[in-house]
């Protein structure tokens, strides 16, 4: 499997990464290189083996339902570019 330039541009747009056309070419080559590795992995016969969703075969540890985090808004907002009335401000988003 290999990607064409159009697919690379689309993936970049979904990831909000701006690519010039030369960068797009280079990225396509790199991604196709990765696909080469994946093809190699996929050629291994895994019949009868349950797929893993994680590299480590252990299960999720759970926490009790307790509030443990204090309000640290002032500290967090001290490093935010723009805040008002406790809100983080971002460039206007209109649906």
């Amino acid at each position: 499997m290999s990607l064409n330039l159009e697919e690379v541009t689309r993936i970049a747009r979904l990831a909000r990464i701006e690519l010039s056309s030369t960068e797009a070419d280079a990225t396509r080559e790199q991604l196709n290189g990765i696909f080469g590795f994946i093809e190699q992995l996929q050629s291994v016969d895994t019949k009868g083996i349950a797929p893993m969703s994680h590299a480590v075969d252990v299960v999720q540890r759970l926490r009790e339902d307790k509030v443990s985090e204090a309000d640290r808004r002032a500290a967090f907002q001290a490093v935010a570019p723009d805040v008002e009335a406790g809100l983080y401000l971002v460039p206007k988003v209109v649906e």
Binding site: R16, V67, E69, F76, E84, Y88
Partner: protein, 483 residues
């Protein structure tokens, strides 16, 4: 309906139920509603570098309860996935959700539309985190972001496309709304957004394959859901009949205009590039955990409905009304245990009749009823033992509602409402009525039955409604035919 006769409507619902936990699904920040903006958004919720999500046990318990309540499979090992999209109120750039292997699979819910009962199949229910809130009011031309809601635990409950009308969709949503509150996993507060529905609606000509669907987002009242779906159905039929094709889209309902309008085309937005979240390991739920949760659950509405029919001889309809909410069912159970099983039907009638009407008028839930279940039971007992007639009972009911006495006996006593059953006393009143209404007596003897009713009315009036109407009837007829 002529217009829609040849059309079949297909509806599936996705519901986000906010789970009743103290802390968030993957962090220890509080979930309380109404806090100051961003006061409940911790480092994990705002996605500072280096943080890791840790799953809240209570959220999983809620999912297990739900799965058990709808007869679904609880997945022994389910997986969390990242759903990738960009929006300022989603700090990580992805929402942690479940994709290929959700925690709850299958199951379903019985609904009732009019007299018809229908089973709505569920596809799945999965755990996920909520996003924050964007405030688009003008902050110097910018959008304000409140991340308090980010990371709030949700159970997204997805149906099969089993519903065929707006009524069925609303009936399902109401049944689900009652169930999640019944099992105590969601407070059901729709104004605060604790229970929100998205409806996938499509239409097709009878016998044809499924049409293209449009998704109506964020329906936060049953009335809007009904209106939005009805509008959407008619809109889609008109489009197709006028030769246009339906484009898959996400739409919003505008309650002021009563119409739906497209929000964004789904082409890009739908490519969420899900993949297993490497920050979270598989969620394992062992059978012992499921049995523990099962043991802690209340009797479910369907089981209670069957029990009410079997134990108290109620009709399926009555039993379904009385188990429509936990509050209703609790009220009924307490009232019947106080009034005795022999009065079970009378208790049902009073709750669904006078009490429901009065609560409705006052816009009150049954949990807030000024007349307690025990007080209502006391009132019903006085009707059954002939202390008061049904008519007087309505007076006592009003008095109880207005807090004029501690119980029915107190009010009957204070207001002198006890039914007159002493034959001698009633006979005396009847004699007086007969003497004063000679004209009616003659008319009755001349064969006019109406005159008899007039005389009963006079006698009841003379006793201020306190005589037993049947007794008055019998005695009056005896006197008139004997004389």
């Amino acid at each position: 309906m002529a217009m829609t006769d040849k059309w079949e409507v297909v509806i599936g619902l996705e519901t986000h139920a906010q789970l009743q936990t103290q802390s968030k699904i993957f962090s220890g920040a509080a979930t309380a509603f109404g806090a100051a903006p961003n006061a409940q958004a911790c480092a994990v919720d705002i996605a500072l570098p280096g943080v890791l999500p840790v799953l809240n046990r209570k959220a999983v318990v809620c999912a297990i309860k739900f799965g058990l309540a709808v007869g679904a499979q609880i997945t022994p090992r389910s997986i969390f996935a990242r759903k990738n999209y960009f929006y300022p109120d989603l700090p990580k750039g992805y929402q942690i959700s479940q994709f290929e292997i959700p925690v709850v699979q299958g199951g379903g819910l019985s609904i009732r539309v009019g007299d018809a009962e229908k089973f709505v199949n569920l596809t799945r229910a999965h755990l996920e985190e909520d996003a924050g809130k964007s405030l688009h009011e003008d902050f110097q031309g910018k959008t304000g972001i409140d991340l308090n809601r980010a990371g709030t635990p949700l159970l997204e409950i997805v149906t099969e496309p089993d519903m065929r009308s707006a009524e069925e969709a609303v009936a399902y949503a109401k049944a689900l709304h009652a169930l999640v509150q019944w099992i105590g996993i969601c407070d059901g507060n729709m104004q605060e957004g604790s229970f929100r529905c998205d409806a996938n609606v499509s239409v097709r000509r009878a016998g044809e394959p499924l049409g293209t669907r449009r998704e109506i987002k964020n329906l936060n009242s049953f009335r809007f859901m009904q209106q939005a779906i009805e509008y959407e159905i008619q809109w889609q039929i008109n489009e197709i009949e006028e030769g246009r094709k339906i484009q898959q889209a996400t739409v919003l309902f505008d309650p002021d205009k009563g119409e739906t309008r497209a929000m964004r085309s789904k082409e890009d937005a739908q490519d969420y590039r899900y993949f297993p979240d490497p920050d979270l390991l598989p969620l394992e739920i062992k059978p012992e955990w499921i049995s523990d949760v099962k043991a802690s659950m209340p009797e479910l509405p369907a089981a209670m409905q069957a029990r009410f029919q079997a134990e108290f001889g109620l009709s399926a309809y009555d039993a379904s009304i009385l188990t429509a909410s936990r509050g209703m069912a609790d009220y009924y159970v307490v009232a019947v245990s106080a009034a005795g099983a022999a009065n079970a039907k009378a208790v049902a009638n009073w709750i669904m009749g006078d009490l429901a009407a009065r609560l409705n008028k006052a816009d009150m839930p049954i949990d807030a009823s000024p007349i307690s279940a025990t007080q209502l039971a006391g009132l019903i007992q006085r009707i059954t033992d002939n202390t008061i007639s049904n008519n007087i009972a309505k007076k006592v009911f009003e008095a109880l509602w207005n807090g004029e006495g501690v119980n029915a006996d107190d009010i009957i006593d204070k207001q002198g409402l006890k039914q007159i059953t002493d034959t001698g006393a009633i006979e005396q009143i009847i004699d007086e009525v007969l003497a004063a209404n000679q004209k009616s007596v003659e008319e009755f003897r001349a064969g006019k039955d109406k005159a008899f009713n007039a005389l009963v009315g006079q006698a009841m009036k003379a006793t201020k409604g306190k005589a037993n109407p049947q007794q008055v009837n019998d005695l009056l007829r005896k006197k008139l035919t004997a004389g």
